[in-house]
């Protein structure tokens, strides 16, 4: 099981390393969205830190939504998915491997977006780094848990560019609220226990749901 997960993860990361296609999309989009949100809000230097959590999480969610489909579009070309499915790989292992590679890509995007938000919106993230990293990791996992499941579902749909965000956005609201509130609390020096609890609950439920339901989504 674990070997299968690692094999899928290694395969996906190797493809990504050679093409850098998803990553380029994630990085450019991430930077662009931070800039767009900041310009649209046009905050004064004193107000700017107040908007930082919202800009950070809105950027994360939208970049993720637009970039996540790529991993499955690749599998669809030349019927790679058919090859994976006919291998003795457990669908749960395939799900977890895909999930892991998405978490890695989203993590790289976060590592780039966070300092950018900190710089452009004048927040000092250095002093709350442990809580912030925990929040980002939990939000990342929750986002990827659902996005991996639904990206596999919409990859065959005709209007997948619209379908994936429409399906995912409402389901992801707890990640958005939890992420924003936890970041807000951490930056304001308050305890972030309640929003972090929401993120933990979300992650637990949907990683399990993904493992159980993934088979229904990929079999033909």
């Amino acid at each position: 099981m674990i070997r299968g997960v690692l094999a899928v993860l290694r395969k996906d990361l190797r493809i990504e390393w050679r093409t850098k296609e998803s990553l380029a999309g994630f990085v450019v989009l991430g930077v662009l969205l931070v800039v767009v949100f900041s310009v649209a809000l046009d905050p004064s230097p004193q107000d700017a830190p107040r908007f930082a959590p919202s800009v950070l999480w809105a950027t994360f969610v939208f970049t993720g939504l637009l970039g996540i489909q790529r991993g499955f579009v690749l599998e669809r070309e030349n019927d790679c998915l058919g090859g994976l499915l006919s291998s003795p790989l457990d669908p749960a292992a395939l799900y977890l491997g895909k999930l892991a590679s998405n978490v890695v890509l989203l993590g790289i995007m976060q590592a780039l977006v966070v300092p950018l938000v900190a710089m452009l919106l004048h927040v000092d993230v250095g002093r709350v780094l442990p809580v912030l990293m925990l929040t980002l990791a939990l939000g990342n996992l929750g986002f990827a848990a659902l996005a991996t499941l639904f990206a596999a579902m919409t990859v065959r749909a005709r209007s997948r560019e619209v379908m994936l965000p429409v399906l995912l956005l409402p389901l992801l609201v707890p990640v958005l609220i939890g992420g924003v509130k936890a970041t807000d609390a951490a930056l304001g020096g308050a305890t972030a226990a309640a929003p972090l609890g929401v993120l933990v609950a979300f992650d637990t439920i949907f990683v399990m749901a993904g493992v159980l339901l993934f088979e229904q989504v990929i079999r033909d």
């Binding site: 005709r158 409402p170 707890p174 929401v198 609950a201 439920i205 949907f206 229904q216």
Partner: protein
């Protein structure tokens, strides 16, 4: 089966009677609320439709699970029918709410936990209907929709948890636990219960009708395919 049929044929009449009693209670019998005035009466529709919508969404999840594990076509049709009626009733909740909120709160909408929750649920099941319509071929779409039906209901408790992090002003109707006024007048309570039962019956009836229409639709498709196959064989 015979009993189910009989109950099903009784349902429209039960709905009609309950609806008539509910209308009489709401517009004639029940006293006008002292502070909010006449607009408060919309609440007897608002609460029942909300319950019906939530009920529908849970039926979607249950039917989806049955479909995935048993492959029952009837469960798939029930899920589709409940989702459609659920979205319809959820839309009514989102229409009646603001009509009441405007004179009472002074705004059509606020990002109160309950309002946020309702609009998110609406979006999830509207997306479900979109997936049904544009998601791909028949059999795989049923499976995708079932997965979404289950994921959607799993999301409800987490959404509830998360929207509690927002600030709230929605009144609690039946309990005073969350700081709402509560409904103390017995006639008002009776009216609420009767109108809610009437609306739930209506929802149940509509779901049954929609599921039957879906069954007929699939039968017609199957027959058409058969005719085409025979014509093809003859030619």
């Amino acid at each position: 089966m015979g009993l189910m049929r009989r109950l099903e044929s009784l349902l429209p009449w039960a709905t009609l009677v309950a609806m008539l009693i509910a209308q009489w209670l709401i517009f004639v019998r029940v006293p006008t609320e002292a502070q909010m005035g006449i607009v408060q009466r919309i609440f007897y529709f608002h609460v029942g439709t909300a319950w019906a919508a939530f009920g529908c969404f849970f039926v979607v999840a249950g039917a989806s699970a049955v479909y995935l594990w048993r492959g029952s076509r009837a469960a798939d049709r029930l899920a589709l029918a409940s989702a459609e009626v659920g979205v319809l009733f959820c839309t009514l909740v989102l229409v009646t709410g603001p009509i009441w909120a405007r004179p009472i709160w002074g705004v059509w909408w606020t990002w109160d936990p309950r309002l946020t929750m309702t609009v998110i649920l609406w979006a999830i099941y509207a997306a479900y209907l979109m997936l049904r319509a544009f998601g791909g071929s028949d059999e795989s779409v049923s499976r995708y929709a079932a997965v979404l039906g289950i994921v959607g209901v799993l999301d409800i408790p987490v959404i509830r948890l998360s929207v509690r992090l927002l600030q709230g002003i929605h009144p609690a109707v039946l309990t005073t636990r969350e700081g709402g006024s509560g409904l103390t007048d017995p006639t008002m309570r009776l009216t609420l219960y009767v109108s809610s039962i009437a609306i739930l019956l209506l929802a149940g009836w509509l779901v049954g009708l929609r599921a039957r229409a879906a069954r007929l639709e699939s039968e017609v498709t199957a027959l058409r395919r058969e005719v085409e196959a025979r014509e093809g064989a003859a030619a």
